[in-house]
Symmetry: C2
Subunit: 118 residues, 2 copies
DNA sequence: CCAATTGTTCAATAACTTTTGAACTAAGGA
DNA sequence: TCCTTAGTTCAAAAGTTATTGAACAATTGG
């Protein structure tokens, strides 16, 4: 079982921008970028919305070619398609992520974590 | 008479991305970038849609902080807000424009121009 | 096998966006 | 002043996107 992904050359600029132009999805991408290398599953994003709603937003990101989802057991391991995005749109992902990191208006993944402070 | 523009710090990343995530508006931005320095008025974009429709798209771009419109007589002189965008989101506009330049699927301003070829 | 976990699909609804045409305003030139 | 040019506003229609809950499917652990 694999999920449908566009090929690198099917990734469309307006579509990528439109898909990133949503606070929930931008928060997902920002979190993926902050954990780059670590594949995350959908439940890690539950702070951002209901299970159903995340399924919807994660499908949008995948169908636009922003993320890759690998099926492993009952989980989907989600990663950024940095390689393909950098090839198609050099510098775009980095500048979006850098701007998103500074965006205090975006929802936060892990907002309920226990903070340990010195 | 002046038109409402957001201040630089009111420009929102998701909103800018959403507004750029439309082929007509991306074509407008691409054309503005290709003529940077030269202020253009709305009628120069009539290839991309009806007068009313352009008024709508140009208002979206202005309200998102992507463009600036200066009222001069009955015209609005439209320019990219490159200074503010570069300050708020370094590298973003350049990477979007570079990608848009390569995007053959976008509509073209001046598609009906007479081409002189050697 | 049974139950729990992980995530999808479906249909409904609500909310927004795009596009259109007709009517309008405001400035500039004859 | 009257006409033209440049662009806006408004309301309607069409289309799209986001959110929800209930039902479903597939895998894993006991």
């Amino acid at each position: 079982m694999t999920l449908p992904h566009p090929t690198a050359d099917q990734i469309s600029l307006p579509n990528v921008l439109a898909v990133l132009g949503d606070p929930t999805r931008l928060a997902i991408v920002r979190y993926l970028a902050s954990k780059e290398g670590v594949p995350l599953n959908c439940s890690q994003f539950l702070d951002l919305g209901s299970k159903t709603n995340l399924s919807y937003h994660l499908a949008k990101l995948r169908e636009a070619g922003v993320t890759r989802a690998e099926v492993v057991g009952t989980s989907r391991l989600i990663t950024l398609r940095r390689d393909d995005l950098d090839r198609r749109f050099p510098g775009l992902l980095d500048s979006v992520i850098a701007a998103a990191v500074d965006d205090t208006a975006l929802p936060v993944v892990g907002a309920h974590e226990i903070k340990i402070h010195a």
